[in-house]
C-alpha cells in the first residue's frame, strides 16, 4: 500500500509572491544519502506549476487538473500517482497561503519563534510525521518535511522571480 507515497513536498515554496527559485534537499534513509535539486515554482490563481533546472519534466496543477509534461509532451500518470500528487499539491497550496484557519482539521500548529511546526491529523499522518516551516519576518524561507519512513525533504526558498 505504501508504495510510491509521497512525493513532493518538494515543491513547497511559500512566501507571499507568485514565482520562486528553490532548492530541494532530499534525504533518503534507505541509502543514507541526500540529493540536491534546483527548480522553479509558480503559484497560479487556482493551482501551481513546478519545473526543475536540470530536467525537461514539469508539472502543472490548475483548476483541479494535473498535467505532467516532458519536453512539452503530456505524459500519463498512473491513477494512484496522479491522485497522490494532487493531494500533496493541495497541501502545498495550503502552506503557501498559510491561512491558519484553513489548517483546521488538517494540522495541529505549534509556533516557536521563527519556526512553525505542523503536526498532521487525519489520513496524511500515515505518511508524514511533521512539517517545520521557518519564516523571516512574514516570509517563509524554508520547509522541512519529516516522513514516516525516516526520509526527509527540505525546501529552501531562494528568491522571488
Amino acid at each position: 500500500m505504501i508504495k510510491i507515497i509521497t512525493i513532493l513536498f518538494i515543491y513547497i515554496n511559500v512566501i507571499f509572491a507568485h514565482s520562486f527559485n528553490f532548492t530541494e534537499l532530499r534525504y533518503s534513509y534507505a541509502i543514507d544519502r541526500s540529493i540536491q535539486l534546483d527548480g522553479q515554482i509558480n503559484f497560479l490563481k487556482n493551482g501551481l506549476s513546478i519545473s526543475y533546472h536540470d530536467s525537461a519534466k514539469s508539472l502543472r496543477y490548475e483548476n483541479n487538473t494535473l498535467i505532467y509534461k516532458e519536453n512539452n509532451e503530456t505524459i500519463d500518470l498512473d491513477a494512484m500517482q496522479y491522485q497522490k500528487i494532487k493531494g500533496y499539491f493541495d497541501i502545498l497550496i495550503l502552506l503557501y497561503k498559510d491561512d491558519k484557519k484553513a489548517y483546521d482539521g488538517i494540522f495541529d500548529i505549534e509556533i516557536k519563534d521563527d519556526k512553525t511546526i505542523l503536526k498532521p491529523l487525519g489520513d496524511i499522518k500515515e505518511y508524514i510525521s511533521h512539517i517545520e516551516m521557518f519564516k523571516e519576518k512574514t516570509k517563509l524561507k524554508q520547509i522541512k518535511l519529516f516522513l514516516k519512513n525516516r526520509d526527509n525533504i527540505t525546501i529552501i526558498i531562494n528568491d522571488e522571480i
Binding site: K3, Q83, G87, D90
Partner: protein, 701 residues
C-alpha cells in the same frame, strides 16, 4: 323521537367505531395498491439494502473555502441520529485501510514468476538509481521492493482529487441514512435536522428522495386545506343561500358521515390491507349519494308518504351494480374504492329513503323564478352519434401516461436539484439487486457482473471470490519468500542500501489471511450492504448498462419507473376490460328502468365521458386518475339519466340535478384548483363532465 334518529344512528356508528378501533387497520403502503406482490417484495428488499436512502450534499466551487465547508458540514452531520455514514473524500476509511493492510496479500495480484538472482539485482539497482533520477520524490516500499504485488482499487482508481466531485459544480458529500421516502415521520425529523445545519452555509445544495416526502406532503397539506375551505364554501352557498335550508344541510352531512363511518367499519374489517388512499377516494364517491337526497327533496318525496321512488331506486341499483363489477378488478386500489362506494352508497340510500322521511324536513316550495325555461333543440340520437364520434376521435388520439410519478405534486425545485445530482458521472450507475443462496455465491455472482461490465461497483470491487482467494493463498504458500528476501538483502547492501533496510521484506506474504470474509459492514459508506431473507442473500450492484447483464438470472432490476410503467400498462388493460363489462351491464339496467328512452338516458353517461375524454386527449396524456374519475362520471351520469328520462316534474328534476351538479363540483370539481397532478386530474374530469351534463340538460330533447 324519530326526528332524532339520524343523530342516533351516527352516535351508534361512532360508538361501534370506538369499540372496534383496535380492529380497524388502514394500510399506508401506497405501493401495495399498484405494484404486484413480486414487485413490492423486490422494492422491500431494495429498501432493506439502503436503496434511495442516500442524501447528497454539494458544495459549490473547488476553492479552499469549499473544502473547509465540506469538512465542517461532515463533522456537524455526525451529530444527527438516522445518519449512518458520511463520505466526503475518496480516501478509504481507517477501517477499510486496515482491511486492505490485513488482506493485502490475497487482494493484490501476485506475480509468482520465479525471480532469478540476476533479475533481483537489476530491480534493486533500478530502485537505487531512481532515488537520484526521479523528478518526484518516491518512497521505497521496503515490504515489496520488487513490486511483485499489484493492487487495483476501484476507489483509488479514479482521476478525482481526494474530495468527491460533482462534475464542474463543486465538492460532494454522500450521506447514507436509514430513512426512506416512505417513512414520513422519520423523514420530517431528519429533514429538519439537516436543514438546521445546512441553512448556516451559502452555496450549498442537497437532495435525498425523502425530501419529496417532506416537501410534497407540506404542499399537499396546504393544497388540501384550501380545497376543503373552497368546497365547504360552495356547499354552504348551495344549501343555505340557494336551497335556504340549513337543517337539510346538517342532516345531509350527518347522513354522509354515518354512511362513511359504516363503510369504513365494513371495509377495514373485511379487507386485510384497506388502504388510506382507497378510503379517501371512496369517501369522495360517497358524496354522489347527495343526488338521491336532492331528488327526494325537490320532488317532496318526504311529504308524499310514498315508500320508494322508482327513479332513485333504479339509479341506486345501476350505480351499485357498476361499482359492484369493479369490485372484482385485480387493481387493489380500484376494487377497494368500488367496494367502499357500494357499501357507503347503499347505507346513504337507506338513510335518505327510509330515515329522512321521519326527520320533519321542510317542504320544498317551488319558485318560478329559479327555473328558467330552456330551449331543448337537439334530439338524443344526434347527441348519441356525436358521443360516438368523440369516442372515435379520442381513441385515435389517446396517449396513456404510465409514469405514476407524474401524478404527484410536481416539485420543480427538487426535480431540478435531483437532475443536478443524477447527471453526475458518479451517480449515473443504475442500482440492481443481486441474489444468491450464500454469501460466497453472492460474491461470485458480483464478480461475474464485474467481468461483463468492468465499471460495475459492488462488493466485488473490494472482496475477491473465495475460489480466487484460496488460489492466491495457494500461490503464496508455494512461493519461496525466504530465498527472495535473502537475495534482496544480500544485493541491497552490495548496491549501497542501508544494511537490514529490507529485513522485513515480504514477511506480510507469509501470513495469509483467512478467506472466510465477513467484512461486509466496512463498505456501508459506499452504499453496499447484504440483506438476508430466509435462505437468500441479497445485495446491490451499481451497473452502467442493465441490458448488458439481463441474461443473468440472479439480478433484478429495481428501476421503480420501469416497474410502475409496466404495472400501469397492465392496469390500463384491466380497466378497459372491466369498463366494457360495466358499460354493457349499465346499458341493460338502464333499458330495464327507462325502456324506450334508453338512448336519452345513456347519453347522460356517454356524452360527458366522450366529451371529457376528447378534450383531455387533445391537450394531455391520460393518466390513471383521469380514468378513475371517468368512472365517477359514470356513477353520476346513471342517476341523472334515469331521473331525466322518467321525470314526472321536469323543472324540479332539473333543479335537483343542478344542485347535485354543484354539490359534485364542491366535492370533486374544486380539485381542479389543486397543484397536485392526481387531484387536479380528478378536478378537470369532473368539471368537464358536469359541464357536459349541464349542456345535456339545456339542449337535449
Amino acid at each position: 323521537m324519530m326526528k332524532y334518529s339520524n343523530y342516533f344512528i351516527l352516535l351508534v356508528l361512532l360508538s361501534v367505531g370506538i369499540l372496534f378501533k383496535d380492529y380497524i387497520h388502514l394500510s399506508t403502503n401506497l405501493l401495495s395498491l399498484f405494484a404486484s406482490k413480486d414487485a413490492v417484495e423486490k422494492l422491500k428488499i431494495a429498501d432493506n439494502l439502503g436503496y434511495s436512502k442516500e442524501l447528497l450534499i454539494a458544495v459549490k466551487g473547488f476553492d479552499k473555502e469549499s473544502k473547509s465547508k465540506v469538512l465542517k458540514i461532515s463533522k456537524e452531520l455526525e451529530s444527527i441520529d438516522n445518519i449512518l455514514s458520511i463520505q466526503s473524500t475518496i480516501v478509504p476509511s481507517y477501517e477499510i485501510q486496515q482491511y486492505y493492510k490485513k488482506n493485502y496479500s490475497v487482494l493484490a495480484t501476485f506475480n509468482d514468476a520465479n525471480q532469478t538472482s540476476k533479475e533481483i539485482k537489476e530491480s534493486m539497482k533500478r530502485l537505487y538509481d531512481a532515488q537520484f533520477t526521479n523528478i518526484f520524490y518516491t518512497s521505497i516500499d521496503k515490504n515489496d521492493p520488487l513490486k511483485l504485488f499489484n493492487l487495483q482499487n476501484k476507489i483509488n482508481n479514479t482521476n478525482n482529487s481526494k474530495f468527491i466531485i460533482l462534475d464542474d459544480y463543486g465538492y460532494l458529500i454522500r450521506v447514507s441514512t436509514d430513512v426512506s421516502a416512505s417513512q414520513m415521520d422519520k423523514a420530517k425529523v431528519l429533514y429538519k435536522d439537516i436543514h438546521f445545519i445546512l441553512d448556516n452555509y451559502d452555496n450549498i445544495v442537497s437532495f435525498a428522495p425523502f425530501y419529496y416526502t417532506v416537501e410534497n406532503s407540506l404542499e399537499i397539506q396546504k393544497d388540501v386545506q384550501w380545497i376543503i375551505i373552497l368546497s365547504t364554501i360552495i356547499l354552504l352557498v348551495i344549501y343555505y343561500l340557494l336551497i335556504k335550508n340549513l337543517k337539510l344541510l346538517l342532516h345531509t352531512l350527518i347522513a354522509l358521515s354515518s354512511s362513511m363511518i359504516f363503510a369504513i367499519l365494513v371495509s377495514t374489517l373485511l379487507f386485510e390491507n384497506f388502504n388510506v388512499l382507497s378510503l379517501a377516494f371512496g369517501m369522495s364517491i360517497s358524496a354522489v349519494s347527495i343526488d338521491y337526497l336532492l331528488h327526494y327533496y325537490f320532488h317532496n318525496f318526504y311529504q308524499n308518504n310514498v315508500k320508494v321512488d322508482k327513479n332513485v331506486l333504479y339509479g341506486y341499483i345501476t350505480t351499485t351494480v357498476a361499482f359492484g363489477i369493479f369490485t372484482f378488478i385485480p387493481i387493489p386500489l380500484l376494487s377497494q374504492i368500488s367496494f367502499f362506494a357500494v357499501v357507503s352508497l347503499s347505507f346513504s340510500y337507506i338513510l335518505f329513503t327510509f330515515v329522512f322521511p321521519r326527520l320533519s324536513i321542510d317542504k320544498y316550495v317551488e319558485s318560478d323564478n329559479i327555473v328558467q325555461k330552456s330551449r331543448k333543440i337537439v334530439p338524443s340520437y344526434i347527441i348519441f352519434i356525436l358521443s360516438i364520434i368523440l369516442f372515435i376521435y379520442s381513441s385515435l388520439n389517446i396517449t396513456l401516461d404510465n409514469n405514476i410519478k407524474h401524478l404527484d405534486y410536481q416539485n420543480k425545485n427538487l426535480q431540478k436539484l435531483q437532475l443536478l445530482f443524477t447527471k453526475n458521472n458518479n451517480t449515473q450507475l443504475t442500482p440492481i439487486i443481486v441474489q444468491a443462496s450464500s454469501k460466497d455465491k453472492l460474491i461470485e455472482n458480483l464478480h461475474l457482473l464485474d467481468k461483463t461490465l468492468p465499471s460495475t461497483f459492488s462488493f466485488a470491487s473490494f472482496i475477491p471470490t473465495k475460489t480466487e482467494c484460496l488460489l492466491n493463498q495457494e500461490k503464496l504458500k508455494e512461493y519461496d519468500f525466504d530465498r527472495l528476501k535473502s537475495i534482496i538483502n544480500e544485493e541491497a547492501v552490495s548496491i549501497g542500501f542501508r544494511k537490514d533496510y529490507f529485513e522485513d521484506s515480504y514477511d506480510f506474504a507469509k501470513n495469509t489471511p483467512s478467506c472466510d470474509t465477513d467484512n461486509f459492514k466496512l463498505f456501508e459508506s459506499y452504499g453496499l450492504k447484504i440483506f438476508q431473507d430466509k435462505e437468500v442473500f441479497y445485495t446491490m450492484a451499481f451497473v452502467s448498462d442493465v441490458n448488458a447483464i439481463k441474461e443473468f438470472s440472479f439480478i433484478s432490476d429495481i428501476n421503480i419507473k420501469k416497474v410502475f410503467s409496466k404495472l400501469a400498462n397492465n392496469m390500463y388493460k384491466d380497466l378497459l376490460f372491466y369498463s366494457v363489462i360495466v358499460v354493457v351491464m349499465v346499458f341493460i339496467l338502464l333499458f330495464i328502468s327507462v325502456k324506450e328512452k334508453i338512448l336519452y338516458a345513456v347519453n347522460y353517461i356517454l356524452f360527458p365521458i366522450s366529451l371529457t375524454l376528447a378534450i383531455l386527449v387533445s391537450f394531455t396524456a391520460i393518466n390513471l386518475m383521469h380514468l378513475f374519475s371517468l368512472i365517477i362520471l359514470i356513477a353520476i351520469g346513471i342517476d341523472y339519466g334515469i331521473y331525466m328520462s322518467n321525470t314526472s316534474k321536469l323543472t324540479n328534476t332539473i333543479l335537483a340535478i343542478k344542485y347535485s351538479i354543484l354539490s359534485t363540483f364542491a366535492a370533486f370539481g374544486v380539485l381542479v384548483f389543486s397543484s397536485i397532478v392526481a387531484l387536479n386530474s380528478i378536478g378537470i374530469v369532473i368539471s368537464l363532465g358536469v359541464t357536459a351534463i349541464y349542456i345535456l340538460i339545456k339542449v337535449m330533447k
